[in-house]
């Protein structure tokens, strides 16, 4: 889309937003808010050199929340016709006649609305045709398949490109919108030896296609990662140090984020309840939230209530500095919103001195985890037990691949027993984290 088309799409959504707020007002709502989105895109998957799927995506949606005093109702639809908007507002208003008075409900405070919307450089449209996408995905898969003769099969390589525009408005008079793009390429291949098959993958994702890793690199990495897993063995049940590779370490930080989220705090269902101002990591750990990073996937100028986002410390010197709150949870906890309605925006754990090789040497003997399976994390208690695959490390060097084991501990202990943070930060996800070395966890195996 050209800049003018984007402006037009945004203006179109803004006018729908205004209509919806007007409809809510006419029905007597004392406050209302509305979020709209429009997205389009293309995904192709190529497998064994042949096109497998071409999918054209085109989605739109609108969600409206109305308030009658302290009562609330929500409705959504994908139909932007006047009649459908009217139906949605009516449905939301009807729900609000049944929900209970809730002293904490309502829009975020007016003085917290973003007053200017910084351009975070998130929109890099790519007029990729299916033919170009097929060519790139084919090159990616070819690189993986020709990497080694033990690569015996493939789940294929995919390329996808999406662009979208979002608008949020509320009856404080806030109205804002911006457009974003998201392009990604991935490859997953299979290797086989006498012990059976193994699969692994690699992907790259960016706002700007020129920031994507090359098709060749992605293909090669997916093949190399797959080959390394051949001949996986189990381990004996024991307690050993564990190094979480950067691309899985972010999940540990996401468990922390979940435990300091407002909803889990006011429900008292968090192992980090009442830990504000307390030591939850060793003092070398610093974790920041940086919502305004240019061109980055997790960036956002305001949260999903229109509250201006801002940079802050989540953890400084190992001490918890703040929670992750929307306005509702903030009121329940007698605190202020942290502009996290809808989630966090770019959480960064400050890099330490060592890369993964250095951390392996520091660990000596232990387990390097490169894949986690399952959902065995209890946010209420912090109990942690997940399936894992990776490598056994001896004297700082990878000895052999490992699979069909579990690793278990409690997150509170794992955080406090963190030994080191790597400088090999994986920037792809919303949580940007290097490898994490944890002192000791229980391995269950043979």
């Amino acid at each position: 889309m050209s800049r003018r088309d984007i402006a037009k799409a945004q203006a179109g959504l803004e006018s729908v937003a205004e209509q919806v707020l007007q409809l809510a007002k006419e029905r007597g709502a004392t406050a209302a808010e509305v979020a709209l989105s429009e997205e389009s895109g293309l995904s192709v998957n190529v497998r064994l050199g042949e096109v497998e799927t071409i999918e054209f995506n085109k989605d739109k949606g609108i969600g409206v929340t109305v308030y009658f005093g302290q009562r609330k109702g929500t409705a959504s639809t994908a139909d932007f016709s006047r009649a459908a908007l009217n139906d949605a507002v009516r449905a939301a208003c009807s729900i609000a006649t049944f929900t209970a008075d809730d002293p904490y409900t309502g829009l975020a405070d007016a003085d917290r609305m973003a007053t200017e919307i910084p351009d975070l450089d998130l929109n890099y449209p790519w007029d990729v045709t299916p033919e170009m996408a097929i060519e790139l995905a084919t090159a990616c898969e070819d690189a993986a398949r020709s990497y080694d003769e033990q690569i015996s099969n493939s789940e294929g390589a995919s390329l996808s490109s999406h662009e979208g525009t979002r608008v949020y408005a509320n009856s404080h008079g806030f109205i804002g919108g911006y457009s974003t793009t998201r392009h990604s390429m991935s490859c997953s291949v299979i290797a086989e030896d006498k012990n059976g098959m193994q699969r692994d993958y690699w992907y790259s994702v960016a706002r700007d296609r020129s920031d994507l890793e090359s098709a060749f690199e992605i293909g090669n990495k997916s093949a190399a990662r797959t080959l390394q897993r051949l001949g996986g063995r189990r381990l004996e049940t024991s307690k050993v140090p564990v190094l979480f590779a950067a691309d899985v370490a972010g999940s540990l930080i996401s468990h922390m984020i979940s435990a300091i989220r407002g909803g889990n705090l006011y429900r008292k269902s968090s192992f980090l309840l009442d830990k504000l101002g307390e030591q939850i990591f060793p003092d070398f750990v610093h974790i920041h939230e940086k919502p305004h990073m240019k061109k980055v996937l997790g960036s956002a100028p305001y949260d999903s209530e229109g509250v201006a986002t801002y940079a802050r410390d989540l953890v400084r010197d190992g001490v918890l500095q703040g929670y992750v709150l929307d306005s509702y949870a903030a009121r329940k906890l007698k605190m202020e919103s942290t502009a996290n309605s809808g989630g966090v925006h770019n959480v960064l754990i400050e890099a330490g001195e060592l890369d993964q090789q250095g951390l392996l040497r520091e660990m000596g003997n232990g387990l390097l985890v490169t894949e986690l399976l399952g959902m065995g994390v209890n946010t209420v208690t912090g109990d942690y037990s997940r399936g894992a695959a990776g490598f056994w490390v001896e004297n700082g060097v990878i000895a052999y691949p490992v699979d069909e084991i579990t690793i278990a501990s409690n997150l509170s202990d794992m955080f406090m027993q963190l030994q080191a943070v790597g400088n090999d930060i994986d920037y792809r996800g919303n949580i940007k984290c290097g490898s994490l070395l944890v002192d000791a966890m229980t391995i269950a195996g043979t």
Partner: protein
């Protein structure tokens, strides 16, 4: 009950197409335009859904959500290739645009004929009832308030109750170049209860719930809502007493019902047709081989009345079946959709499912369960000298290719000298799909299906499913506790 008369394709067609003035002739022309390219198969999938949910916490229902969605997906299949586009507008220009995009998967070629329309007579496993209006909104809220009161009355250690009631229906119409002309109206309701309990500074949670393809009266009948509440509180209180779980490989007894998630992860996904056609499953090419002990017969059955995973027809218009996956330990066959069935030279088993009109169909499970065996559950527990008895689970995951799977217990006990002794904390269990069922040494006579809460994710698409099994003894499974 407010169930109305059975389903007619005409009434579904009226509902989905009439507002835009579309008729069967226009749709036939759109399909024919796709078939002008070198396409083996094409279909149009129309859908209208409504959904609502009500949530209670801190004793009050503070949130209600209502949503509607409608649209149409157009798919063209040529060999192993699929072209797919969709629109959230059911109107001729949008449909033509989607069809043009989808057929680009294949070059222009000899136009193939669309077969004469054959109306599929699907099962009548559930009726086209309207869950949303089956209970007044006030009564829905009162149901949740009753759950809250009951939970708090049961035990003073209950500190928080979160309860949600959700319901909706999907109305679908399918027209395909193979002559399929089919429709379905699929109601689905669900009630969930989570409680947090606290004692001496220790907090634990318990979860329970259920659902099916009926309306909200299901939760009032037989006082089911209260039953879920008691179950959630019971589980949470058990967990307050739980000690660290053991780590290592040991005998594991799995309870009946929801622990059948074992079958879903360990073998179910690995027996889906797409992975086996591509040779990427640990079970590829193993039909006729022994993959389980001869005590094990496992089916995928989409034909159970009113179950959450059941369908009158799948999303390709094929009536669902009761498919034997493993019979007395021997692998019998895979679950198929039309594309994979055609490429593998077999018939669809009615397992072609999609999350919505905006997603491509693929082989998916319905209700997957193991048939009962000869043993009394007490006898199974009594046979174990030292092991784990796991009766409730959260979710699981599987790596199809290596066959490694996990599933996480949320309620478990130690068995010592044939007796259930004390509760242990939840732990993840890990095993290898082609191996685990070979270690099944006892199968109970107490087959139970889950309460209707399962949702399965695959390639980013979620669909409702069911699982079930009798009590099982697995002679050696790895338990991921912390206690060495």
């Amino acid at each position: 009950m407010t169930e109305t008369a059975g389903l007619s394709i005409d009434s579904v067609q009226q509902q989905l197409l009439a507002p835009s003035g579309l008729g069967i002739n226009e749709l036939e022309r759109v399909l024919a335009s796709i078939m002008q390219h070198n396409v083996d198969y094409a279909d149009l999938y129309f859908q209208a859904s409504r959904f609502e949910s009500w949530t209670l916490e801190d004793g009050i229902v503070t949130d209600g959500v209502h949503s509607v969605e409608r649209g149409v997906g157009a798919r063209a299949v040529s060999g192993e290739k699929s072209g797919f586009a969709y629109s959230d507008e059911i109107a001729l220009p949008a449909l033509q645009e989607a069809a043009t995009a989808a057929r680009a998967i294949a070059r222009q070629g000899q136009e193939k004929q669309i077969k004469a329309w054959t109306r599929t007579a699907g099962h009548r496993l559930y009726l086209p009832t309207d869950p949303l209006s089956s209970l007044g909104d006030r009564a829905k809220i009162e149901l949740l308030e009753m759950v809250d009161r009951e939970a708090r009355k049961l035990d003073p250690r209950v500190k928080q109750v979160i309860a949600s009631l959700a319901g909706g229906d999907d109305t679908i119409l399918l027209l395909a170049s193979d002559g399929t002309h089919a429709a379905d109206v699929r109601p689905l309701v669900r009630l969930n209860v989570t409680v947090i309990v606290e004692q001496d500074g220790r907090r634990e949670q318990g979860n329970s719930g259920g659902g099916c393809r009926r309306d909200y009266h299901y939760f009032i009948d037989e006082a089911r809502a209260l039953g879920y509440t008691r179950e959630a509180v019971r589980q949470a209180l058990v967990n307050l007493e739980a000690q660290d779980a053991p780590a290592g490989t040991m005998q594991v007894v799995l309870g009946s019902g929801w622990p059948g998630v074992l079958l879903h992860e360990a073998i179910g996904h690995g027996l889906e047709g797409d992975f086996n056609r591509k040779g990427t499953s640990a079970f590829s090419g193993r039909v006729g081989e022994r993959v389980a002990s001869d005590l094990c017969t496992v089916v995928d059955d989409g034909t159970l009345a009113q179950r959450r995973g059941s369908l009158n027809i799948d999303d390709e218009g094929v009536p669902t079946e009761n498919t034997v996956l493993i019979e007395k330990g021997v692998l019998k066959g895979y679950m198929q959709d039309k594309l994979n069935a055609r490429l593998m030279g077999v018939a669809s088993t009615g397992n072609g499912r999609r999350e919505s009109y905006a997603h491509l169909p693929m082989p998916r499970m319905t209700n997957t369960y193991m048939l009962p065996g000869p043993h009394a559950p007490e006898e199974i527990i009594a046979s174990v000298k030292n092991g784990l008895y796991a009766v409730n689970f959260g979710g699981g995951q599987v790596d199809i290719t290596s066959g490694k799977f996990v599933f996480s217990a949320s309620e478990a006990y130690m068995i010592e000298n044939g007796k259930v002794t004390f509760p242990v904390k939840g732990a993840t269990l890990i095993g290898s799909g082609p191996d685990v069922l070979q270690r099944v040494t006892m199968v109970g006579d107490d087959l139970a299906l889950d309460a209707g809460v399962g949702t399965c994710g695959k390639e980013g698409q979620s669909v409702p499913v069911g699982v079930g099994q009798p009590t099982l003894l697995i002679d050696g499974l790895t338990v991921g506790g912390t206690n060495v």
